[in-house]
């Protein structure tokens, strides 16, 4: 497994000062090893580490001659929000689908909360949940019916209480008897997030969770997700094309392009470290660079 260069277990303040550059892409630019990093690398290589809620090792997915995801390794620790960034077609959703167990990797391993997904699919997926803008809940069931249905599928204990708590937490009480297909996109997002938190997941995968929300609603939802991550034992993998949101929410980001992770680091520091004014500018430059040695072009 590639060394994971940052291991923030206590929120945003404890990040290292240097960005992590992927050794497989830019070996010459890799930071010299230091004791702290060595320790973190050992932790990263051990998916049984209680702090690691997601361990992805050498994940590779090929369609014909095309590598959609090319030997990607990373991990997410509890109480950490990791942004998975990249242009369209970079392999973000393919990566997420593999973590969700709906797409088999060609090679590589995925552990969720220390459980091998390929060998113990049901046990591993019981520790995870997700919300994606393209995976709306069945529109022919009401909000409450959907939560009860998925609550049983996830074998949630004290389901009735849990559903009530989530209805209240996501301001869905007045919509409980409304069919999901009749909800606005913002309301549907709130229902999907309530579903994603039904089983108190150790790993939460959020694929553009605020894409259809107005700025005010998006800010509220971001705060709530952040609270969930910090308060519980949950780690979050978050994809978004909104760089403002990424800076506001993520402890660490991974830049993915053409199936490879090119950059990894603190979203608030990465732009300056690579001569970009903003994260968005850095994103655009990375997305447009040829794959050969993209980070070197950044200076």
């Amino acid at each position: 497994m590639h060394a994971r260069a940052t291991a923030n277990t206590s929120g945003r303040g404890a990040l290292p000062s240097r960005p992590a550059l992927r050794a497989d892409i830019v070996p010459a630019m890799q930071a010299p090893p230091d004791p702290r990093r060595a320790s973190e690398s050992r932790a990263a290589s051990n998916p049984a580490d209680a702090d690691v809620v997601l361990s992805v090792a050498d994940l590779y997915k090929r369609y014909g001659e095309t590598a959609a995801v090319d030997r990607v390794s990373f991990e997410v620790r509890r109480r950490e929000v990791v942004g998975l960034l990249g242009p369209n077609g970079a392999g973000k959703t393919t990566t997420i689908n593999m973590i969700l167990g709906v797409l088999s990797p060609t090679t590589g391993r995925i552990h969720i909360a220390g459980i091998d997904l390929q060998r113990h699919r049901a046990a591993a997926l019981a520790q995870a949940n997700f919300s994606a803008v393209y995976a709306a809940l069945p529109g022919n069931l009401t909000v409450e019916q959907n939560l009860r249905f998925f609550g049983l599928v996830y074998s949630v204990a004290r389901l009735g209480e849990r559903v009530e708590a989530l209805l209240e937490s996501f301001d869905l009480l007045r919509l409980r008897n409304t069919k999901c297909g009749l909800l606005s996109s913002g309301e549907q997002t709130r229902v999907a997030l309530a579903k994603a938190m039904l089983n108190r997941p150790r790993l939460l995968l959020l694929d553009e969770p605020t894409a259809s929300l107005d700025p005010s609603a998006a800010q509220t939802i971001r705060a709530r997700i952040r609270e969930f991550a910090v308060a519980g034992d949950c780690g979050i993998l978050w994809t978004s094309h909104n760089m403002y949101e990424v800076e506001a929410v993520c402890d660490r980001v991974l830049f993915l392009s053409r199936g490879k992770i090119l950059l990894e680091g603190d979203p608030r520091r990465l732009p300056a470290q690579h001569g970009a004014a903003t994260l968005e500018e850095l994103f655009i430059r990375l997305a447009r660079e040829p794959l050969g040695d993209p980070v070197e072009h950044l200076g």
């Binding site: 959703t93 689908n97 709906v102 393209y134 069931l141 249905f149 998925f150 609550g151 074998s155």
Partner: protein
């Protein structure tokens, strides 16, 4: 097998049927219409034969058994199609739900929906057209069990085909029972068929049920081995259908079909 995920599948189907007359109505409407139509046809045939032959048990009984089999098969495949129609695969299969739990949920749903249809058919056929299944005696139970078992197998096979071929292949699965009906001799003895069709009939469990039904109604003894062969074939078909569904599911996982089915999301 953990029961709660299976209960989740059942609860969803219950919500759908309870909240939608267009789902509840077909559970008994079409089979009731079939019984009424065939009931009057048998009355007409009885009047033409001057009482020499009673068509009610042989024709109306056959229609009832055939409709029961069809409802079982469609009960499984319709429950599966609910997930196709609502684009729910990604939400559903990214959970701890296992394939056997999912199939079990579909099968129990089918038992519930087809039991309603069977009750309506029995009530209508006996009260209006004088059909008495006492003439078949206790053999009615194994007849129903073989048809039930084969209906489940065909429903699982149909679901696997839709999973493999995509939502548009739905039209392929509705005529499946009609495609089988000429071979299994619902209304006529298998000896009526040409040799090659008889060969096909011998591997289809319903053939043994309908042949057995006619044998009993003719007052002859049913060769005990015949129905056992039918039952064994039905069990084998279930195993094969389960294996086929699992293979298709794995294929869908490997190729991205499952993720793409609802999300069009493979990069």
């Amino acid at each position: 097998m953990r029961a709660r995920p299976v209960a989740g599948i059942l609860l969803r189907q219950f919500y759908l049927i309870r909240g939608s007359p267009v789902r509840a109505l077909p559970m008994f409407a079409w089979v009731a219409i079939d019984i009424v139509v065939w009931g009057f046809i048998t009355r007409y045939l009885n009047s033409m034969s001057d009482g020499r032959f009673n068509y009610v048990p042989s024709l109306l009984g056959a229609v009832l058994l055939w409709d029961f089999f069809t409802r079982i098969m469609q009960g499984v495949s319709t429950a599966f199609l609910e997930d196709v129609w609502s684009k729910n695969f990604l939400n559903l299969f990214a959970t701890p739900l296992t394939t056997p739990q999912y199939i079990m949920g579909l099968v129990i749903t089918s038992i519930g929906t087809s039991a309603v249809g069977l009750a309506v058919m029995l009530a209508l056929a006996s009260s209006v057209f004088g059909l008495s299944f006492f003439s078949l005696g206790l053999m009615l139970i194994p007849f129903l069990l073989v048809l039930f078992s084969f209906g489940i197998a065909l429903g699982i096979l149909a679901s696997a085909l839709v999973l493999r071929l995509g939502p548009a292949s739905e039209w392929l699965i509705w005529p499946m029972p009609a495609l089988l009906s000429p071979f299994v001799g619902v209304f006529y003895p298998l000896s009526t068929l040409p040799q090659w069709m008889q060969a096909v009939a011998r591997v289809l469990p319903p053939s043994y049920v309908f042949q057995g039904m006619r044998t009993l109604l003719a007052g002859q003894a049913l060769p005990p081995g015949d129905l056992l062969v039918g039952a064994a074939l039905a069990v084998l078909d279930n195993l094969l259908a389960g294996y086929f569904f699992t293979r298709v599911f794995r294929y869908a996982l490997r190729t991205g079909l499952l993720a793409r089915y609802s999300a069009e999301s493979v990069s």
